[in-house]
Amino acid sequence: MSMKIVHIIAIFGADSRLMRLINAIKADPRHFQIIALSSLLTLLLLWSDFAPSWEVLVLTLSATLISQYMFTKIFDVPTFDFRSPLITGLSLCLLLKVSVLWLYPLAGIIAMASKFLIRWDDKHIFNPANAAIVIGLIALPEMVWISPGQWGSAVWMGFLLICLAIMVLGRTGRADISLFLLGAWFALLLGRALWLGDPLEIPIHNAQSGALLIFAFFMVSDPKTTPDHRLGRLIFAISIAVIAYIMQYHLQIREGLFYALFIVCCITPIIDYFIKDKRYQWRET
């Protein structure tokens, strides 16, 4: 027993290994995202009657990782990075619903392909997971859907805390966009309620969506597919909120936010052209 404790101390104790682990996590904001997404997924697995099965997890994650590896080889990228495909895979597991299992790995491949193939000015245009979801919804409407209601409002507070923690810890410097988006979205919901004379419980209920948080903190916040300048990001976030609002409340398209992000991503190069700022790098060198 005491041997074990000594051993643990040897690993994590006064020795700098624990510090090294912490530093390793801190080295890249995506590590925090991976931890957060995994926690959310665990929460979903414990909480929901409609959680993805382990086959879904294995297939989706291996598809994103393997296709990232393949594209790395094809495009002669010097290093294989496991973080982005892991984040994409986890996001897909959390959000995407399909009626046949093989669509999960296919979505993973599409996601990574969109990242390597659809580029402008050395920056990919679409958030990979969002691209896969939107392409799936458009191309295979008979097999693909998302379930925005699967989280409910009860665990929402936990979700929010995890997301905010990531924002603070991750310090990507681009996390402002999540707050811009949530702010704009809530302002629209609030405006609608005031116009209709509805009680405030309705916009509050609507804002308490787990899907909205995942979308805001893990999709929209992708620093690689959002404008470089803060003003650009504000425009970007407001545009998404407005387009999504129109789709959801006037066109009855439940997946409005995902389509909106897809559409607005197309104009990111234009925003970047007019409002220039430093290009984001995951690891500050």
């Binding site: 619903k97 693909v144 209601g149 989280w151 409910g152 009680p199 009855q252 439940r254």
Partner: protein
């Protein structure tokens, strides 16, 4: 182009009484008063075409009955129909949580267990009520249409502002629940018309009905939702709603509320057969409380072509069409044949269909208040065709003679099995476990069950088998 449809209904009593709102349909008071005061709604939907069938169990006098449903466009006479109550009852029975019975085989001759019979929870029947009236006034309220269908007199109203509509309805003798003005205003701002149905006492009496038949409205709209807001305005406690959807692709789910499945698959004690209605009620209650009344409970999701086990036969195609499944062709549905040797011939064999019906039924059960369901339930059809049902299993122990080594092991294992069933039942229903154990003892599940042995001489056993 897309017109929205907000359906909200409210039950209005005549001016002498306090108006009671609900989502529209107060359900069910039958002999077995399961879920007193629930509403039953069937929504059939495909390609933006929706047929909504609403059954209410109005328990007042017919003359006091009225419903108000906001609709996106003027609904003409041909878009309204009065349906046969049996259709909804059949769908209710077909999708109801079910009890399955198995009989243990002789432990000395191990065999596969055989299913004996299935029981559905008692379907929630309809009751009655009704009234009639028709008038027109100007208060910013326009009567767009006015006609009678079956025993109902129907008005389609449009209003400029909620004050006018509220006043007009009051002048006409309805007392709307407190707070309904705001909700009406919200719908008016969204350009809704109001579908007002009352009972025409003359035709009601002429037809000789003792209950109100379900009203059906067909409309085209991108909006797929169910109004519950007005229903939460009265202070009569939580409302109950059974929502059935019939769709082409798959399961329907709310997008703004969480869905949870009711507990299913548990082995439960035998005595539950005699009080299955009570069991279902307590089980549902417990499940709802566990989720703090914040979720929509999924009770059934299945292809309409078959069932396993069946609580009632699947609905024939003709009946599905009457319930609004317009995309089915007109040919008659396939015949339901009982499994060879099955004691109850009306039960269909438990196997996948040889011919799909192209209709998928989802049964959702909601208990709600204004606090837990502040917003109307927005729905979406998913592509999920996975079957789900509320199913509970009773296993009858072997009670005949059995004298062999295996039998003594079998009987040794029984108390543990019974205890497990008792605990499962206590968990599901919140009933006291000691009461459960007592009832089990009385109901043929003695915890001290012994193998029956035949003490007669061997030759008597041989001759008098």
């Amino acid at each position: 182009m897309t017109r929205l449809l907000f359906l909200l209904t409210l039950l209005i009593f005549a001016s002498t009484q306090n108006a009671q709102a609900f989502c529209g349909f107060y359900v069910a008071k039958a002999d077995a008063d399961l879920f007193n005061g629930a509403s039953k709604v069937v929504m059939s939907r495909h390609e933006g075409r929706t047929v909504m069938t609403m059954a209410n169990d109005f328990q007042g006098e017919a003359k006091d009955f009225a419903i108000v449903i906001p609709v996106p466009t003027v609904v003409t006479k041909s878009q309204v129909n009065v349906a046969d109550t049996k259709l909804i009852d059949h769908l209710d029975a077909y999708t109801a949580p079910r009890l399955v019975e198995y009989y243990d085989s002789n432990p000395c001759q191990p065999q596969f267990e055989t299913m004996a019979r299935n029981m559905a929870a008692a379907p929630m029947a309809m009751a009655d009520g009704a009234a009639m009236q028709k008038s027109a006034k100007k208060l910013g309220v326009t009567i767009e249409e006015s006609y009678s269908v079956g025993e109902y007199d129907i008005l389609i109203l449009s209003a400029k502002e909620s004050d006018g509509l509220f006043k007009w309805l009051n002048q006409e003798g309805y007392q709307l629940p407190k707070g309904s003005k705001k909700v009406l205003g919200s719908y008016i701002k969204q350009n809704m018309k109001f579908f007002v149905a009352k009972v025409n006492l003359d035709s009601y009496e002429k037809e000789g009905f003792t209950y109100l038949r379900p009203l059906q409205v067909a409309y085209e709209s991108e909006k797929f939702m169910l109004p519950v807001r007005l229903g939460t305005l009265n202070a009569n406690g939580p409302q109950n709603l059974l929502l059935f959807t019939l769709t082409k692709k798959g399961r329907v789910e709310p997008t703004n509320y969480r869905t949870t499945k009711i507990p299913t698959g548990d082995d439960i004690p035998l005595f539950v057969a005699d009080e299955f209605g009570e069991f279902y009620k307590a089980m549902f209650e417990t499940a709802v409380q566990k989720e703090k009344m914040k979720t929509v409970m999924l009770e059934y999701a299945w292809d309409m072509a078959w069932c396993d086990p069946c609580a009632a036969d699947p609905l024939p195609k003709a009946d599905l069409r009457k319930l609004g499944v317009w995309w089915l062709d007109k040919e008659p549905g396939r015949k339901v044949r009982p499994m060879p040797g099955q004691s109850q011939p009306r039960i269909m064999p438990p196997r996948p269909p040889s011919q799909a019906v192209n209709a998928f039924v989802t049964r959702m059960h909601v208990r709600y208040t204004a606090d837990t369901f502040p917003e109307d339930i927005v729905l979406q059809e998913t592509e999920d065709r996975q079957n789900f049902q509320g199913r509970y299993v009773m296993r009858h122990p072997w009670t005949e003679e059995a004298s062999c080594e295996m039998a003594s092991n079998y009987y040794k294992g029984l108390p543990e099995r019974f205890e497990k069933e008792a605990k499962a039942l206590a968990n599901l229903t919140g009933w006291s476990i000691s009461d459960i154990r007592k009832k089990m003892e009385k109901g043929g599940q003695s915890f001290a069950m012994k193998p029956k042995s035949d003490d007669r001489p061997w030759y008597e056993q041989m001759w008098n088998e």
